[in-house]
Symmetry: D2
Subunit: 147 residues, 4 copies
């Protein structure tokens, strides 16, 4: 049974991603590792723009404790891509993002070329111990929760 | 319940990995994405050295269709690391690698700083359709199977 | 004497570049290495779109034999950037690109945050020996020559 | 006139570098960008081990203001490499490193596969204004000066 490929319309927030020459590996397509860089970029970008996260000074930061990805179809530089972001689970101190990568320009019914998730645990920047998600970040994340 | 952290002795093959300045992200430790690069490096290196894979000319190549990682403890450049590799499942056309990252110099009882898996589906280089794993690769992979 | 910072108007072709979380290093700004990835992306993208280069099958490919960059001002993810591209020297078998990185949205008088050059020697894909630049690539490159 | 290829014996300090699957680009060899990551790794590793630099807390840090590389011969993952490091110029607030990459296991007469330089300007971490190189870093750098 082939894996289910999510659609663009399954995600709440979308971010443009330009591919790079280096994204292509020796087999001529975007390397599997690089998708996780797209994931990171989409989620943190949302936290910065909509939740007030400051990478260099916020007292609470999100650390990745788990990630996963399924790859459905190859893409290659110089393709323009788009990441779809949603929140699959929002806890007191952790959030699970659902993320999918699409070829840019595709409509809402287009199938993802890859999709996966990762979990951010929020910690105190100095002590690295888990803390409650600060209200501005939580408010931003709540807007992406899918039921 | 905290996740189980595998031990170095749980893996059959080990590969030294030198960290790089760029591996550290703005939070001062190796970025979550980079661990997947270590995974790729450990598995393909084994296929090249022990299974005769030639990245530029082998008619059958392994494409990643799924990957996942759990992160247990931070590490940072300039730490020396080691990847442990094993085969968790060996099918006709696909293999699931189990991989863990350790601080180099640790003994067999040392706990992994991260561990995960990825799945290679072997395909014809030109057509990209799945094919049976060629005998030399299969023989090499069989030696890493854990029961 | 501070180095001269080129302006956006000094470049013929411009390419949008989205930054990534991983571009920022431990000091909180885009790592010096990453600018070369922007350079590569801008030049090869132009060759693909305007000169007919096919990364996986063109019989003639460009290999980098020299590169350099001067860094004028820090930028950081999630900034949107733009690369400016021109041809500083076009020989029989080699081209020297001039490239600069700008904050996106800046006008033509805006100063580069970094600028540099790199040299592509064109070679036969199989033998890797230098060959004359094929006419479609040369025509594309000629349009970017500055005097 | 072909460029001069330095020898391993021309460098004072050597660092082992393990290549990665992702280092290879679509043309099957280590991408030109990646060499700068080796440069960064070699120089900062020396400052950390021999000069007491702490990436996360030192009040004075080195920022790259200029870099360059010449590429002499291709190398590819899974090759083991070695970086040679020296100091070509040591000023009050800046240092110019000379760096070359060798295939590991080669003797002192072996020619570099690539070589280049980069300039670190030392700045106050908070204000990012240039400052004198702190004595422990200077002492470490002086040991690598070549005349």
């Amino acid at each position: 049974m082939p894996p289910v490929r999510p659609r663009a319309a399954d995600y709440r927030h979308h971010v443009a991603i330009t591919t790079r020459w280096m994204d292509n590996d020796v087999y001529g397509h975007v390397n599997n590792v690089t998708y996780y860089s797209y994931f990171d970029t989409a989620a943190n970008g949302y936290l910065i723009e909509h939740g007030g996260l400051d990478l260099r000074s916020s007292p609470v930061i999100g650390l990745v404790v788990e990630s996963a990805c399924q790859y459905h179809a190859p893409v290659a530089y110089p393709a323009a891509l788009r990441a779809g972001l949603r929140v699959d689970r929002l806890g007191q101190r952790a959030v699970t993002y659902g993320i999918a990568i699409f070829v840019d320009g595709a409509d809402g019914a287009a199938a993802a070329v890859a999709h996966g998730h990762f979990v951010h645990v929020f910690v105190d920047r100095a002590t690295r111990t888990p803390v409650a998600i600060p209200p501005p970040l939580r408010a931003a994340l709540e807007r992406l929760v899918v039921s």
